[in-house]
């Protein structure tokens, strides 16, 4: 039995509130990806979206009762970190901001 089809409980309500909060946070971070204004801002926002996705996966693991989703969280955290470091090396290599 998962939290989705179970009886109404405090944990179920807080899981739904958590889903809503993390979703709003991802939308806010995406606004920062779109408006910039500089490249490092966008990279930072993408890094935060990766972190938020990890917490979304953790929430979904609780709500569905399936602990295997946490393996996906490990992989996602690793890829997000590597992506941020690669982007930072690229920014440093490129030098001055062309459109700061």
């Amino acid at each position: 039995m998962t939290l989705f089809d179970g009886p109404v409980s405090f944990l179920q309500v807080s899981a739904y509130v958590g889903f809503g909060g993390v979703t709003i946070a991802i939308c806010a971070a995406f606004v920062r990806v779109v408006v910039g204004p500089s490249m490092p801002d966008r990279v930072l926002a993408l890094d935060l979206i990766g972190l938020l996705s990890v917490s979304l996966i953790g929430l979904y693991a609780i709500a569905s009762g399936e602990s295997l989703f946490l393996d996906a969280a490990i992989a996602l955290a690793l890829i997000s970190f590597l992506g941020t470091v690669a982007f930072s090396r690229f920014i440093e290599w490129r030098g001055e901001e062309p459109d700061a």
């Binding site: 946070a25 490092p40 972190l51 938020l52 602990s67 970190f81 941020t84 930072s88």
Partner: protein
């Protein structure tokens, strides 16, 4: 009895995690320059994700799952400062503008573009030609 307590504690942890995650996104959206945004995103975001993962570890109550959640949190705790430092360094050297009300930029003028060295405290002895 114990299951009810664990459910309530897990629910409170989820709510706290969602709150901190929201705070980090709000900071990312509202703070005036990149370095302040970095301050919000890295710390509050890591704390929020860690609280949610801790709730998952409590909820399942198995050793294997708890270790998995702890590994994810430990990994976040190790990588978030490294990523923030690398990104902040790259952004500073790429010339990202600071907030116009920033009072102090201690690195300004102490950084040599050609040699990638700075001459602040702890930068080692000056070159022989300086003496």
């Amino acid at each position: 009895m114990l299951e009810g307590v664990i459910e309530i504690v897990a629910g409170v942890l989820i709510l706290a995690g969602a709150f901190f995650v929201l705070v980090s996104a709000l900071g990312l959206l509202r703070l005036p320059d990149l370095f302040m945004r970095m301050h919000a995103a890295t710390k509050a975001g890591t704390l929020g994700a860690g609280l949610v993962l801790f709730a998952a570890a409590l909820f399942f109550g198995e050793l294997a799952v708890s270790i998995k959640a702890a590994v994810v949190f430990l990994f976040l705790l190790l990588t978030a400062p490294v990523a923030a430092h690398v990104l902040g360094r790259a952004a500073y050297y790429a010339g990202v503008t600071l907030w116009d009300r920033t009072m102090l930029d201690e690195l300004r003028g102490k950084y040599d573009e050609s040699t990638d060295e700075h001459d602040g405290p702890g930068a080692g002895s000056p070159a022989p030609s300086d003496r």
